[in-house]
Amino acid sequence: MRGPAARSLLFAALLLSSCSPLQSALVPEGDTARAIAGLFWFFVAVCAAVWLIVMALLLIAVLPKRTAMPDPQIEPDVARERRIGFVIAGGIAATVIVLAVFTGASFLSNKSFAEPRPHSLTIKVTGHQWWWQVNYEARQADQTFETANEIHIPVGQPVKLDFESPDVIHSFWVPNLAGKQDLIPGRYTELTIKADKPGIYRGQCAEYCGIQHAHMAMFVVAQEPQEFAAWRAQQLRSGGGPNSAELRRGQQVFVSSACAMCHTITGTTAGGRVGPDLTHFGSRMTIAAGTTRNSLGNLTGWIADPQGVKPYTRMPAVALTGPDLMAVSHYLESLK
C-alpha cells in the first residue's frame, strides 16, 4: 500500500510543479551547476535503491511467520543469531563502501570547484538589506561602473564574483549556474560562475537577512560576447542627457528632492550611496531587487508608496505631486 501511494503522490507533485527551469538547480546551465546536478542524481539513484532494500527487508520482517516459536523467545538460536550477525556485518560493510564512494565523489567534485580558475572578468557584489550592489572592476578607473540587482556576463567565460557585506549575512544563489556562497560582514568570499548558453538566470538571497529577505532577488544575464561588450559600453556612458521637457523636469525633480540623497545617477549631481545606482535603471528588468517588473506603472507605484510594495523597505516615501511623480518616472525609464 505504501509503495503505490508514494508513487502517485510524487506524480501528482510533479504535475503540480511545472518542472520549470526558472531558478532550478535541476536545470543546470553552468558547468558547476551541471557537475553538482550529476552528483546529485547519482546520490538519488543509490539512496533510492538503499531505501527500497531496507523497506523490503522491513516488510519481510513483519510478515506473518509460519514456524511456531516460544512466546516470549528468551532462548536465542545461537547459530541463527550468528548467521544474521554476519549478514548485518555485510550490510554495514556495504554501507561503508557506499559512503566511501559518496565521500570520494564529493571530495573530487569539491576539489575541482576549489581550484582557482582563470577568469575574464571580476565583479564585486555587495549585499545590502535588501538589494545587490554590483561593481564591475577593471584595471583602469574609467572602465569601472556600478549597477544593481542585475549582473551581465559573457557566455562561456568564467567570471569571478567577489562578495562583501556591510550589514548582515546574505547568500548569493543562482541555482542554474552554481551553488551558493554567503556574504559575511568582515570576511571576503568569492564564487566563480560560467554560463554555457545565453539566457536570464534568476537567483535569490539564500540566508535570512531580515524582514524583506523574501524580496532580494537578482538576475544573471548571460550574453554573447558582442552583446555583452555593447551592454558594457552603454553602462560606461553616464546617465544620458534628457532630451525633452518632461525628461528634463524629471531630472530636475530627481536631483533636487530626497532621491539624490540615496541614489546616484552619473552625469548629474545625484551622488547618494545609500540605495542602488540608477544610472541605467531604464534597462533593468525589475524594481526593488525582483519585487516587481520594471514598467512605468509599477515604477510610479513604487516611488509613491515603497512601503506598500515592499513593507519595511529602507526607501522612504518621497512626497511628490502627481506631475512630478510622472516626470521622474519617465526620466528614470529613459535611462537605458
Binding site: I92, G179, I184, Y188, A214
Partner: protein, 635 residues
C-alpha cells in the same frame, strides 16, 4: 551500653503493611502546597510531558499559520514581521521547549522505574529544573503574544541578532530563554547520569541495563558537553547587545563565524540529543512486540555511544557555504556520512529482531514502522546534504527543511507517539483506544509525507528558507499548496492523539501491571506505580527480568520502612553498597527557580539585575540545602 534508636526495617513487616507504610511515606502531600513542593519523579515527569505538549500545540499552530501564508503566492495571511516571529517561535519552541524536554521527561519518568529504584538521584533539583523550564517557555510565549517575539530565526545568527538590525529586546528574549532551558536541561542530565550510574537495582550489571536507559545515559552525556556551547554563544550575544562587548562586532576584532561555530558545536549534538532517546523508545518497543529481546544488544549500545561521540565532530556541515577552506570542509563530509553507520547498525538490529521474532501488531508498533520508513528517507537526504557540492545548492532551501523534518518528525516524533501509546497504560492505568490509534497513525503518516515530501522538490527548484512569500512568477504555488494541505492533515492527527489520550484517561480499559507483556522492570509494578515505585526493590538476574522470572520475582529486604531510603549500588556490577535517604517534598526549588527566573528576565533590561538578584538567589539556595532535621537527615 547505649541504646541505638529503634528503626523499623521492611524485613520486620509483611507485604501489605509495608505497601501502606511506604505509600504514606513517599506520597506527595495533598493540596496546593503539596503540588508545588512535589519532588516525585513521576509527578514531575508527567508535568514535563503535559507542558511539552502545550508547547507542541503552540509551535504546531505557528506552523499551520506559516503554511497557510505560503499556500499561495503573495498571500496576506500574515505580514513579514509576524511571519518572521512565527518561524523563529516555531523552531525555537520545537527545539528548546518541546523536543529536548519531552525526551528528558520520559527519562525522568521511566529511568528510575526501569533501573528498579524508588526515586531519581536529586529529586529537588528535578523539581527545580521543571520550574525553570516552565518559566523560560512561558516567558518566551508571553513575549510573542505581546508582539515582542524574537524574529531572528531559531539559531539567531549575528549580525542580524545584534542591536542595530532588529527591534527592541526580541533577540535578548530569545537568548535568555536559552539560558533558562539550558539550565533545566543540564540539571536533568546530571540527575539522569547519577541515577543510572548509582541507583540501579542489585544485579543490573552493565549488560543488563535496558537500551532505553543506555540511550538516556548517552544523551545526558551529550547534554553535559554540548549545552555549555550554546550558553556561551547566547551569553556573548546578550553581552554584545546589553553592555557593548564586541565578540561578534567585526569592526573591533569580533567575528560572526565565532557565533556560528559555538552555536553549531551545540546544534549538531542537539539533534542527536533529540534522536537518541527516540531510538531508545524503539529499542524498548520492538522487543515487546517481536516477542524476543533485542537482537545485537551490545552492538546497539556501542552504536549509541559511537553516535554520541561522533556527533561532536560534524558541526561544520552547517557552515559549508561560509567561505571556510573547501578542502577542510571535506573532512566534515566524511564525518557526517560516517555517522550513518552506527544508525544503520541500529536499524539492521531492529529489523533482525522483527525478522526472528513473531511481530504482534498494535499502535506502538505501527508508529515504529512509520518511523523506520520516514527516518531512513531523512537519513539518506542527510547523506546528500553532507556532500559539500550538493549542499552548496540545497543549503538554506526547502530541501534542507524537508530533510530535517524527516529526521526530526520521522526520527523522533513518530517514536514519541509510539512511546505514548506504549507507556500511557503504565502512567495512567488505562489503555488507549486501538481503533483511534490506527486512525491516528494513518492520518499522521499520510499528512506528514504529503506536507514534507514536496519540500524536497521546492528546494531543488530554487525556493529558499524563511521567506514569508513568493511571487506568482515562480513555479512553486502548486507544491506549496499541496504541502499546506498535508500539514493541516498532520496537525489534525495530533488533535486525534490528544482526544484519544483525554478520552482514554477516563474511559480506557483498565490496564494491569503489564498489559503488553514487556520485559523490563517498569512493568513489574502497578499501573500507575505507587509513590514508592516498588514496594520491595527487585534483584535483577537478566536483561529481560520480567520474562526470566515469570513465577517468582527476587527482591531485596533490609531497607528502612520509617524513612525514605534508596539503595545505592556500585557502578559496573550494581552490587548493593549504601543506603541513602531521599529528600522530602520541598518548596525551595520553586522559590529558587522564581528568584533565578526573575533575575534572568530583569537582566535583559539592566546588568545590575545580576547583583540585585544574587541576594534572593542566595537565600533560596541556602533554604534549599539547609538540613531540616527530619529522619531523612539522620545517618
Amino acid at each position: 551500653m547505649s541504646a541505638a534508636p529503634k528503626v523499623l526495617r521492611d524485613t520486620d513487616i509483611g507485604d501489605l503493611e509495608l505497601e501502606d507504610r511506604l505509600r504514606a511515606l513517599w506520597r506527595t502531600p495533598r493540596g496546593l502546597m503539596g503540588w508545588l513542593s512535589s519532588v516525585d519523579h513521576k509527578e514531575i515527569g508527567v508535568r514535563y510531558i503535559v507542558t511539552a505538549f502545550c508547547f507542541l500545540a503552540l509551535a504546531g499552530g505557528s506552523a499551520v499559520i506559516m503554511r497557510l501564508q505560503l499556500a499561495t503566492p503573495d498571500a496576506h495571511v500574515v505580514g513579514p514581521d509576524k511571519y518572521d516571529q512565527l518561524f523563529t517561535m516555531h523552531g525555537s519552541t520545537m527545539m528548546f521547549l518541546f523536543a529536548v524536554p519531552i525526551m528528558q521527561a520520559f527519562a525522568i519518568y521511566l529511568v528510575p522505574l526501569m533501573v528498579g529504584t524508588r526515586e531519581i538521584a536529586f529529586p529537588r533539583l528535578n523539581a527545580f529544573s521543571y520550574w525553570m523550564y516552565l518559566f523560560g517557555g512561558v516567558f518566551l510565549w508571553f513575549c510573542f503574544f505581546s508582539n515582542n517575539g524574537p524574529d531572528v530565526g531559531w539559531f539567531s545568527y549575528t549580525p542580524l541578532a545584534l542591536t542595530q538590525y532588529n527591534v527592541g529586546h526580541r533577540a535578548d528574549f530569545w537568548a535568555q530563554m536559552i539560558t533558562y532551558t539550558e539550565v533545566a536541561g543540564l540539571a536533568v542530565a546530571v540527575q539522569t547520569i547519577v541515577t543510572i550510574f548509582k541507583l540501579r537495582a542489585p544485579g543490573m550489571s552493565l549488560d543488563r541495563i535496558p537500551i532505553f536507559v543506555w540511550g538516556s545515559l548517552v544523551t545526558a552525556f551529550m547534554v553535559v558537553f554540548a549545552m555549555p556551547a550554546v550558553m556561551v554563544a547566547s551569553t556573548m550575544l546578550i553581552l554584545d547587545r546589553l553592555v557593548n562587548t564586541h565578540f561578534y562586532d567585526v569592526s573591533l576584532g569580533g567575528d560572526n563565524l565565532l557565533f556560528q561555530h559555538l552555536f553549531w558545536f551545540f546544534g549538531h549534538p542537539e539533534v542527536y540529543i533529540i534522536f537518541l532517546p527516540a531510538t531508545g523508545f524503539v529499542s524498548a518497543i520492538i522487543p515487546t512486540f517481536a516477542r524476543r529481546p533485542i537482537f545485537g544488544q551490545t552492538a546497539v549500545v556501542l552504536s549509541l555511544i559511537a553516535t554520541a561521540i561522533m556527533s561532536f565532530g560534524l558541526w561544520v556541515h552547517h557552515m559549508f557555504v561560509t567561505g571556510l577552506p573547501r578542502l577542510g570542509e571535506s573532512f566534515f563530509t566524511a564525518s557526517s556520512m560516517a555517522i550513518a553507520v552506527p544508525s544503520g547498525i541500529q536499524i539492521f538490529c531492529w529489523i533482525a529482531t522483527l525478522w526472528t521474532g513473531r511481530p504482534r501488531f498494535a499502535t506502538p508498533l505501527l508508529f515504529v514502522l512509520g518511523f523506520i520508513f520516514n527516518f531512513v528517507i531523512g537519513g539518506l537526504t542527510g547523506v546528500m546534504v553532507a556532500s559539500v557540492p550538493i549542499d552548496t545548492q540545497v543549503h538554506d532551501t526547502y530541501f534542507v527543511v524537508a530533510h530535517f523534518h524527516y529526521v526530526l518528525i520521522g526520527g523522533a516524533v513518530f517514536p514519541l507517539v509510539a512511546a505514548i501509546y506504549y507507556w500511557f497504560p503504565k502512567v495512567t492505568g488505562r489503555m488507549m483506544s486501538e481503533a483511534l490509534g490506527r486512525w491516528n497513525f494513518w492520518i499522521a503518516f499520510i499528512g506528514f509525507n504529503v506536507a514534507f515530501f514536496p519540500m524536497h522538490i521546492l528546494g531543488l527548484e530554487g525556493m529558499p528558507r524563511r521567506v514569508y512569500t513568493y511571487s506568482a512568477d515562480m513555479p512553486w504555488g502548486g507544491l506549496n499548496l499541496l504541502s499546506t494541505i498535508g500539514a493541516t492533515i498532520f496537525f489534525i492527527s495530533f488533535l486525534l492523539l490528544a482526544f484519544n489520550m483525554a478520552r482514554s484517561s477516563v474511559r480506557g480499559t483498565v490496564a494491569g501491571n503489564n498489559p503488553w507483556d514487556g520485559e523490563s522492570l517498569e512493568w513489574a509494578t502497578s499501573s500507575p506505580p505507587p509513590p514508592q515505585n516498588f514496594t520491595r526493590i527487585p534483584v535483577v538476574t537478566s536483561g529481560s527480568p520480567l520474562w526470566e522470572n515469570r513465577k517468582t520475582f527476587p527482591t531485596v529486604t533490609g531497607l528502612r520502612a520509617d524513612r525514605k531510603e534508596v539503595l545505592v549500588s556500585t557502578l559496573t556490577e550494581a552490587e548493593p553498597d549504601l543506603r541513602e535517604p531521599s529528600p522530602d517534598p520541598s518548596i525551595w526549588p520553586l522559590l529558587a527557580a522564581i528568584a533565578i527566573g526573575i533575575t534572568f528576565l530583569w537582566s535583559v533590561y539592566t546588568p545590575w539585575a545580576v547583583i540585585y538578584g544574587a541576594v534572593p538567589i542566595t537565600v533560596t539556595l541556602v533554604g534549599w540545602f539547609w538540613p531540616k532535621g527530619t529522619k531523612e537527615d539522620e545517618s
